[in-house]
């Protein structure tokens, strides 16, 4: 297909359709309403169904049902809406259901605001809900990458029988960029038929029961162990990242993800012209986090700078990535304000000049 100029939200919706998702359940919230809006007219064209549920809680439980019947299914929401879905997402994880959840993050806490933010890093990567589970978290930095990752998310969800989350800030939802969909796209994993799905019992196989309740502790312990094995595989096989700039000789290495990384890349190019060498590691999977890549690039750089649209949630993972405790510099904008290339340039120059204050940990 030819390149088309698409809003991020529309591209995410179309990517779901291209990936064979024919069911969408959701509840409106800014700044992601264009995703359900797009799918409400697009899904009927492919024989699919769009449902505006009565709440986020209802939406995620509709996903549970549809995924349990073996269908590819998606919902999208924004920060407070994702919080409301938390319980259901945990149930999906417990019942080993492949669902795709898109979070177009807005500034918080509480109702917060509707402008771009990365305030849900902890929520997505560490504390999505109760019960000792993990979800793959994919973070696109462009509209094309959002379209690609949403399609990958369905394959990964099916392969691991696990929820997959795609997180973008408001810019990813609202911005327009050229997008291309490939008609000959193949699944990125070998996907066996969903014999586990609850599609009606004809006495030709064991009953397929979709359940997350295990009252026998020994049975639940085994379930937890099996889930953990799956998470270990994800950590081994699914880490994604990209690197940029002077990787072997950087004065400063930046760690940033999503659209913030693009702002940083503009800064890196400008700094290069001033003779300042900067490298960047961009996590594409926030979980599993690219610990080794960050460790390696950081080991060759003098200083480390984390740039985020939160008060420094990713710093914790960057610290875990390092061999030894090292000071980390940090720059952020909050509340829906955006980082500019000029701010990053000033920060890097301040680090070089020794006037930037480091983030200290006891």
């Amino acid at each position: 297909m030819a390149k088309k100029l698409m809003k991020g939200a529309e591209a995410i919706g179309e990517a779901a359709v291209q990936a064979g998702c024919h069911l969408f359940f959701g509840y409106p919230i800014t700044p992601q309403n264009e995703i359900p809006e797009y799918l409400s007219s697009r899904l009927p064209q492919v024989g699919g169904t769009f449902v505006q549920a009565e709440s986020e809680v209802a939406s995620i439980n509709m996903l549970y049902g549809a995924a349990g019947a073996g269908e590819r299914v998606m919902t999208s929401s924004s920060s407070p809406g994702i919080s409301l879905m938390a319980e259901g997402i945990s149930y999906c994880a417990g019942a080993k259901l492949p669902v795709v959840i898109v979070n177009i993050m807005r500034a918080g806490p509480g109702l917060g605001g509707i402008l771009p933010s990365q305030a849900d890093y902890f929520q997505a990567t560490k504390g999505l809900a109760h019960g000792d589970f993990r979800v793959l978290v994919l973070a696109p930095w462009s509209i094309q990458e959002a379209a690609d990752l949403v399609q990958d998310a369905f394959d990964l969800a099916d392969y691991y029988r696990n929820p997959v989350m795609v997180v973008g800030d408001g810019l990813i939802g609202q911005m327009m960029e050229p997008v291309e969909f490939y008609e000959d796209r193949q699944p990125i994993k070998e996907l066996p038929p969903k014999t586990w799905a609850s599609t009606g019992w004809k006495r030709d196989r064991p009953k397929a029961i979709i359940n997350s309740l295990f009252l026998d502790p020994a049975e639940l312990e085994q379930h937890n162990i099996d889930l953990k094995k799956k998470y270990d595989l994800m950590e081994r096989d699914e880490v994604r990242f990209a690197t940029y700039g002077a990787l072997d000789s950087a004065d400063v290495v930046i760690v940033a993800y999503g659209t913030v990384a693009r702002v940083c890349l503009s800064a890196i190019e400008a700094l290069e012209n001033d003779g300042i060498k900067v490298a960047m590691v961009r996590p594409i999977t926030l979980w599993p986090f690219p610990y080794e890549a960050v460790r390696e690039v950081a080991s060759k750089a003098k200083d480390i700078l984390v740039v985020e649209l939160s008060t420094g949630q990713m710093i914790e993972d960057v610290r875990l990535a390092l061999h030894r405790p090292r000071p980390i510099h940090f720059h952020c904008r909050l509340g829906g304000m955006l980082v500019s290339p000029e701010e990053v340039i000033d920060k890097v120059k301040a680090i070089k000049a020794g006037t930037s204050e480091e983030v200290h940990y006891a």
Partner: protein, 189 residues
């Protein structure tokens, strides 16, 4: 090579539309483009703006603090963005709705009565097209042929408005070209 522009005006003036048209034209020329709207709790008649980047290389930051050009279609937009234009950049002022002069003396100022021109052409809603034409004429960010093609495509469902919009685009384009020619003469002398 990168052209970046912030277009700003009242909601309803068709600002976001001309931004999209410019981005489409850039894409059709094989360039990398991004179109970023301001969004927020705003209403018709409130202010709105969008940032368009057209580049030979993948677009880095879609957020531009110091744009190479600003199209100010009303006074609040001029107030908000005048100081942001890069030195040597381009500032279009819609004198139909803005009475004051520009304060900057280190940027190219193009004053165009976009609404008056549109009205004279019998197309009161075409002020945005005049401004778009002037921007393209003055900067050469995309070719006239390409932006014409996008106008035809955009209004394909309403063929009756294609010609009036092309007319407004051309009028603006000529004014932009004229300005560019004059300013390069000044530089030469």
């Amino acid at each position: 090579m990168q052209n970046d522009v912030i277009m700003a005006g009242f909601g309803g003036q068709g600002i976001l539309l001309i931004g999209k048209m410019l981005a489409y034209a850039g894409m059709h020329e094989g360039k990398e483009v991004s179109w970023l709207p301001s969004y927020g709790p705003e209403m018709r008649g409130g202010t709105c703006n969008c940032t368009v980047v057209i580049s030979d290389n993948p677009v880095g930051s879609p957020v531009i603090q110091s744009p190479g050009a600003v199209l100010a279609m009303n006074l609040p937009s001029l107030e908000k963005f005048e100081s942001d234009v890069r030195p040597g950049g381009f500032l279009l002022i819609n004198t139909s709705l803005i009475e004051r002069k520009a304060e900057r003396d280190d940027v190219e100022i193009v004053e165009i009565p976009a609404n008056t021109i549109a009205q004279d052409l019998g197309n009161a809603r075409g002020a945005n097209m005049v401004a778009l034409g002037a921007y393209v004429g003055a900067t050469g960010a995309v070719s006239l042929e390409q932006i014409e093609a996008v106008v035809r495509q955009t209004f394909a469902a309403k063929p009756s408005v294609i010609d009036v919009n092309l007319e407004a685009l051309h009028k603006g384009y000529d004014l932009g070209r004229e300005h560019a020619a004059n300013s390069s003469e000044e530089t030469a002398s």
